[in-house]
């Protein structure tokens, strides 16, 4: 039984194919269309998934869409009715879109699927899962747990913005939900907006900015007090209530009532071009700490309601690795699994799996192991495919026919301070590059963070980089007891490799603080000594593991910098063509695609030829 899961028409469209309980393929549409967070129907992703499974659209048993549009429409109508006469402008803008596209979703989906290939409508059934059930299923079924508490948190589904569910013997039962307009995701997005970042994509920047805030400073504490007393009512059972007079998303076209926020916090809304000041960092820290408190309350409630030892997490808020680490450190649960594609894209996998287990009643077995295959569920390109691209561009290259020699060469180049585009194996599913579409470099190099941010990624200088560390060596560098294969936890850098900070560190300006050498691996040590680490495992990514092992043989350090292979505003590269173009428009030194090695200095192109404009996110 082949099931096609689809997530589309909001943001971050994706598709996946599941064969019984096995995820065969999954991919984000943005990687193919090259439009960041593409919301359209995922034609390319569906085509890829079918191709990977060797199927035509007519071979599919069922198509499952990740949410219920009628239920969402019901929420829309009821909330406009509730807030009327406010919200008329927003109503007039959104209703025609619903009537034209989203309300007739069944016809829309069938007509889009027809563009992919012919099928008989009678044989291709279309089903709709609930948004938070899709999230819950995306975490529970691949977790390998027999039973678990499931916590899903995001901006908004149909009515729910968060849910606690119980996964047991292959069934998921939703126990408790937090409903619109109360939403932790929207609360975090509101601060993302106020601090000058883009809603729905800048949330991780806010998380990266928070550690520059001064913990327990009077300003941070004051901000927390304001948030707690005026903006959100935090209840011990994990629920929250937003004070709607400060928010605009229910009736207007913006997230917040800006004037009221400016008065409340005594600072102006930051514009994207404005400099980042200490007060912005302190506010980011305040909302991050409040978020952690709410997430922890919800996790405690999930534990109380289910009594389970295991926890599964999904939904966009589950990408907040700092909050995830708070749950981890609390030891509330014995084991935690977080869906690597925790955002809406992951809903495609969840919808398909929920249908397979809960509707088709396929056999549920407890594997005890993560079934996400390391999140390497996307397309792969052979040396032959790559050669075609290199010929197209008349590029200069060297071919290594021995993998061992290739890894040895690459490790040597990393140690020599080169920045390398590393393109190998199947593309990752989820927002993180995990070593198959990555830019890699030496974590020991004191200049590397600056170089990567400003010359390679063209992004904000304050943003941290993540390390890839051999799983067996992770405890040597970080204070962490579990594996983190999907970069969904942060951990403190071990005391033994930390440098002593200047006494006035907290008073330093943001950029001076940033360039203070905090440890022996400065490129990945954030200003609060944390790192969002990825543990690399021989079983899920043997080539990447071998590369880092070679680097360790050479330098004694089993850790490198890993950042996604793209520039600011660009989706992560998918195919050799994307990789080559991205390589040419940045100051990356070397591009390695499977066994082909390209040195920038040997290419004979005008880099202007490759200057593509991506709208900064």
């Amino acid at each position: 039984m082949f099931i096609l899961g689809i997530s589309a028409y909001y943001h971050d469209s994706a598709a996946c194919i599941v064969y019984n309980d096995e995820i065969i393929a999954a991919a984000h549409e943005e990687r193919f269309s090259r439009k960041k967070q593409d919301a359209g129907f995922p034609h390319n992703a569906v085509k890829y998934c079918l191709n990977e499974a060797g199927l035509n659209i007519s071979d599919i048993t069922a198509v499952v869409y990740y949410e219920k549009p009628f239920l969402k429409f019901e929420r829309l109508l009821e909330s406009y009715y509730h807030f009327a006469p406010f919200g008329l402008v927003s109503f007039i803008k959104s209703i025609p879109v619903w009537i034209r596209e989203k309300l007739f979703i069944k016809d829309e989906l069938y007509s889009q699927l027809k563009k992919i290939g012919p099928f008989d409508k009678k044989n291709l059934k279309l089903y709709f899962s609930e948004h938070h059930l899709s999230h819950a299923a995306s975490a529970y079924y691949p977790s390998g747990f027999g039973s678990a508490a499931i916590l899903t948190l995001d901006g908004m589904g149909e009515w729910a913005s968060a849910s606690i569910a119980h996964g047991k013997e292959g069934n998921i039962k939703i126990i408790k939900e937090l409903h619109y307009p109360n939403s932790l995701g929207l609360l975090y997005s509101a601060f993302t907006y106020f601090l000058g970042f883009v809603v729905n994509s800048g949330e991780y920047k806010l998380m990266g900015l928070a550690p520059y805030g001064i913990d327990k400073s009077s300003q941070t504490e004051e901000y927390k007090k304001i948030i707690r007393n005026k903006i959100v009512n935090i209840r011990p059972d994990g629920s929250i209530k937003l004070e709607m007079k400060y928010f605009d998303f229910a009736t207007g076209l913006k997230m917040i009532k800006t004037k009221k926020w400016e008065k409340l916090f005594g600072i102006q809304k930051r514009l994207p071009s404005d400099p980042i000041l200490q007060e912005h960092c302190n506010l980011a820290l305040a909302i991050q700490q409040i978020t952690e408190e709410i997430v922890m309350n919800m996790a405690t409630e999930a534990k109380n309601l289910t009594g389970e030892k295991n926890l599964c997490l999904a939904g966009g808020v589950a990408l907040n690795c700092v909050a995830n680490s708070v749950i981890l450190k609390s030891n509330l649960f014995k084991k935690i699994f977080i869906q690597p594609a925790a955002g809406d894209a992951g809903g495609a996998v969840g919808a398909a799996l929920a249908f397979a287990y809960m509707n088709q009643k396929i056999q549920f077995s407890v594997s005890g192991n993560d079934r996400m295959k390391g999140a390497f569920l996307g397309p792969e390109f052979s040396n032959n495919d790559i050669l075609k691209t290199l010929r197209k561009y008349n590029a200069d290259y060297t071919f290594f026919d021995n993998n061992n020699e290739l890894f040895e060469y690459t490790a040597g180049q990393i140690a020599a301070g080169k920045v390398i585009g590393w393109f190998r194996g199947r593309m990752e599913y989820g927002p993180r590059a995990l070593g198959n579409r990555s830019i890699i470099a030496d974590a020991r190099n004191s200049e590397m963070q600056k170089k990567l941010n400003l010359k390679i990624k063209f992004r904000e200088g304050f943003r941290p980089f993540a390390p890839s560390v051999l799983s067996e060596d992770s405890k040597e560098y970080f204070d962490i007891d579990v594996s983190s294969p999907y970069m969904l936890y942060t951990a403190p850098v071990s005391n033994s490799i930390r440098n002593k900070l200047p006494e006035n560190y907290n008073e330093l300006e943001l950029m001076t603080k940033l360039y203070t050498q905090r440890s022996e691996i400065p490129a990945i040590t954030h200003c609060d000594f944390s790192a969002r680490l990825q543990t690399v495992h021989q079983e899920t990514n043997p080539d990447y593991h071998s590369l880092i092992a070679k680097f360790k043989e050479l330098t004694g350090t089993g850790i490198i910098v890993n950042t996604s292979f793209n520039v600011r505003g660009e989706p992560i590269v998918c195919n050799p063509d994307d990789a080559f173009r991205c390589f040419m428009r940045t100051e990356m030194d070397i591009l390695i695609m499977q066994n082909y090695v390209l040195l920038k200095e040997n290419q004979h192109f005008d880099p202007k030829h490759f200057k593509e404009q991506f709208k900064p996110d």
Binding site: F70, L77, E78, Y81, I95, P96, I99, F104
Partner: protein
């Protein structure tokens, strides 16, 4: 027809019958907006308002 059947089943299951008039009005307005865009129907639309 399938759409009407689906939405009726939905409203029945959710017991949200009070949404029916709103949905009918919205669909009628929606149809007018869509068809109002084409020149042959536009004059009839204008006379309605």
């Amino acid at each position: 027809m399938e759409f009407i059947k689906d939405i009726w089943n939905f409203l029945k299951e959710r017991k949200k019958y009070w949404l029916i008039p709103i949905i009918i009005v919205l669909l009628l307005v929606g149809i007018l907006i869509i068809f109002g865009g084409s020149s042959s129907v536009a004059p009839f639309v204008y006379t309605l308002f």
